[in-house]
C-alpha cells in the first residue's frame, strides 16, 4: 500500500530524514519508535504533505500513486489520515460541521454525491460509540477548550468517520491517562481491518500493549536503524534508547 524509498528531507537546510525505506501492506500495523528528535513526527508530517519540509531525495508510492506529487487535500482524499499530535482549534466550527465538509469534499473527489443528513447522522452515532465520545462534544467548536484526552479521542473519531486506507497516528498516546489511552486504543483496534493499514508513531511501548503492531521500526538520526516484531518494542522499553545509540556509535 505504502512504499517509502530512500526518503531524504530537510527543513531550512537542516537534514532531518536521511534515507528512509519502509514497506507497509494492507492489514498491517507498523510502530515507529525512537528518541526525541529522531525524525518520527517529520516523517508523519511529510506523508501528510506539510509544506515546510523539503523532500530532497527519494520517493513515496501510495497505492500506485506518487504521494509526494499530491496536494495535502488530495492525499487525504486518497485515504491518508494523520491523527495530529497537537490537534488545532477552529473556533465557531463544530466537529460535525467540519466532518460534513470534509466527507463531502472527499466524496466529490471520488465522483460521489454528498452524503444525506440522515446517513451522516446514522454513521456518526455508530462511530461515536467506538471512541466513547459524547455528541455534546461534537457540537462544540472543534478542539476549543477540549482536554488533551478529548482532543485525541476526537482525532480517532474523525478517523472512524473518514475511514482512511492509511492512518498515521502521531504520538496519539502522549498526554493521555491510562483510561483515555485504553479508549483510544480500543477505537483504533476496532477500525483495523484487512484493507487498511496503521502507522503508530510513539515514544513509549505502553500504547503497543493495547494496539499490537506487526512490525516495529526504530528511527534514529533520520534513518530506520532497526526493524523487528512486537518484541523489539519490549526490548527497547527494557534497555532504553541508549542501547540503540551505543550500537549506532559502534557501527559508525
Amino acid at each position: 500500500m505504502l512504499s517509502i524509498h530512500n526518503l531524504h528531507a530537510s527543513i531550512e537546510g537542516k537534514k532531518i530524514l536521511n534515507g528512509i525505506n519502509l514497506e507497509v501492506k494492507a492489514g498491517e500495523v507498523h510502530a515507529i519508535m525512537g528518541p526525541n528528535g529522531s525524525g518520527k513526527s517529520t516523517l508523519a508530517s511529510i506523508l501528510a504533505g506539510r509544506e515546510e519540509f523539503e523532500v530532497t531525495e527519494g520517493s513515496v508510492d501510495f497505492t500506485g500513486k506518487d504521494l509526494l506529487e499530491l496536494s495535502p487535500e488530495d492525499r487525504a482524499r486518497e485515504g491518508v489520515f494523520l491523527a495530529f499530535q497537537y490537534p488545532v482549534e477552529i473556533p465557531g466550527v463544530s466537529t460535525i460541521n467540519f466532518l460534513k465538509t470534509a466527507i463531502n469534499q472527499i466524496r466529490e473527489y471520488k465522483g460521489e454525491k454528498p452524503l444525506d443528513a440522515g446517513t451522516f447522522l446514522k454513521t456518526m452515532k455508530e462511530k461515536m460509540k467506538l471512541v466513547e465520545i459524547d455528541q455534546s462534544l461534537l457540537n462544540r467548536s472543534l478542539n476549543e477548550g477540549f482536554s488533551g484526552g478529548e482532543k485525541k479521542r476526537n482525532e480517532i473519531f474523525q478517523m472512524a468517520m473518514l475511514e482512511p486506507r492509511l492512518a498515521i497516528l502521531d504520538e496519539t498516546d502522549s498526554g493521555l491517562d491510562i483510561d483515555a489511552l485504553r479508549i483510544v486504543a480500543n477505537g483504533v483496534n476496532k477500525l483495523k481491518n484487512p484493507d487498511n493499514a496503521i502507522i503508530l508513531v510513539t515514544h513509549y511501548q505502553r500504547l503497543l500493549d493495547y494496539i499490537v503492531p506487526d512490525h516495529v521500526h526504530v528511527l534514529y538520526k533520520g534513518r530506520i536503524v532497526k526493524s523487528g516484531g512486537k518484541e523489539l518494542a519490549l526490548e527497547l522499553e527494557e534497555k532504553g534508547y541508549d542501547w540503540i545509540k551505543t550500537e549506532q556509535a559502534e557501527i559508525a
Binding site: A48, G49, R50, E51, E52, S71, P72, E73, R75, A76, R77, F81, L82, F84, P87, V88, E89, I90, P91, G92, V93, N97, F98, L99, T101, A102, I103, Q105, I106, Y109, S141, Q158, L162
Partner: protein, 482 residues
Amino acid sequence: MSKNDNSILEEITSSEYKYGFETIIETDNAPKGLSEDTIRFISNKKNEPEWMLEWRLKAYRQWLTMKNPLWANVSYPQIDFQDIIYYSAPKQKKKVNSLDEIDPELRKTFEKLGISLDEQKRLSGVAVDAVIDSVSVVTTFKTKLAELGIIFCSMSEAVHEHPELVRKYMGSVVPVNDNYFAALNSAVFSDGSFCYIPKGVRCPMELSTYFRINTAGTGQFERTLIVADEGSYVSYLEGCTAPMRDENQLHAAVVEIVAHDHAEVKYSTVQNWYPGDKEGKGGIYNFVTKRGICSGAYSKISWTQVETGSAITWKYPSVILKGDHSVGEFYSVAVTNNRQQADTGTKMIHIGKHTRSRIVSKGISAGKSQNSYRGLVQVFKRAEQARNFSQCDSLLMGDQCGAHTFPYIEVNNPSAQIEHEATTSKIGEDQLFYCNQRGIDTESAVALIVNGYAKEVLNQLPMEFAVEAQKLLAVSLEGSVG
C-alpha cells in the same frame, strides 16, 4: 504566516465581483452637479409638496456650511460634488399598478440578483421594495400588509400618502445637520423605503429593500424610515449591489428607526456594493448614517450588518437608548479585501435607566485592506444601572492588511457596568493544514474558518439571509488566503 501561506490567501481572496453587470434601460437623469436648482429639479420630478422642498433646501444650505469629515481611518481623493448625477430614474412608460407591468429588463435585473419580484414565487414571504438608482420601482405584498395596517411603501409615496407621519418622524433621529453626508442626503435624497407598524402588530413577514445603483455617474441617496408603534415588531432586511465601474460612485444613505414602548425592530443589512478592483480602481463610497431611537420603555433595536462590499465604508449604526429598560444591539461582520477600506462600528447612547446594549463586531481583513472598528458607549448621568458588553474581534489574513480598533467609552453614572473584550487573530497555517489533511481544500477551509469566526453575528440574520451571507463571505475572500 509563511510565504506560501500568503500566496494561497492571495489566490483565494482575488475572485471576481459577481454582480457587476449593467442593465441597459432608458433613464431619466438630472443634469450633473449640485445647486438649489438640482434640488428643485428632484423635488419637482417627484411632484413633492412645498414643505418637502423647503426641508431639502434648508438641508442644502446647512450642508454648504459644513465640512467633509476627515476623522475616519480612510483615505480617498476629494469628492467632486459637481461631478455627480443626483437623480436618475429608469423610464417607466406609466405608473405601475401591478407587478406584470414592470419593465422586463428591470425584472430580469432583479432575477439575476436572485430577487424575485413575483409575490407568488416568494416562498419565504419577504416583502420587497426594489430601488434602482434614485427610485423605487416596485413594492411587493403591499395589499397583504395593508390589511394589518402596516404601511410599507417607497419614501416618495409616503411623502404623498402619509405626510403627517413623514413630517413627524423624518429627521427626528438623524437631524438634517447631523453630519456632512446626512445633510447632503437630506437635500438630495431621491427615494427609499418607508415603513410603519401600528400598535400591537407583529409584522408577519420580513420586510426588505433592495438597492441597486445602475446608471454611471450617479450617486445614490436613499432614505429609509421605520416607525414601530407601541408593542409592535418588525424585521427589516436591506441588500445592495452595483455594476463594476472604474469610477467611484457615492452612496450616502440615511436610515432612521423609531421604536416606541415595548416595540422591537431588527434591521439586517447585507452590503455588497461593488468594492473596486484588485488595485483599488472604482467601487462605491458608502457613507451612511444609520440610527435608531428606543424612545419608549422596554423597546429594542437590533442592528445586524454583513459588510463585504464598497471601496470605502463609513457607517456607525447606532441606538439612542432613551426609554427605560430599552435594549440596543449591534452585530457586525465587516470584510475588507484588496484595497478596500472600512471604518465602521456603532454608538450606544444610554440615556434611560436600566438600559442595556450589546456590541459584537467581527472584522476580517485580507489583501492590502484596512479595517477599523470605531465604537462609542456613552452613559448619561441619569442612566442608572446601564449595562454594556462589547466584543471586538479582528481576523487578519496575510501580512499586508491592517485591523484597528477605536473604542470610546464615556461613563457619567457610577452604577454603569461596561465590559469590553477584544481579540486579534490570524488564520493560521496550522488551521489550514489541519483542514487540508481532512480533505478540505484551502478555499473551503478559509470559508469554514471565517464563517466559524463570524458565526455569532450570522446567527442573528434571518435564515435565508444567513445562508446568502455565508456564501458572500466565502466569495469576498476568494483568493485571499496566505
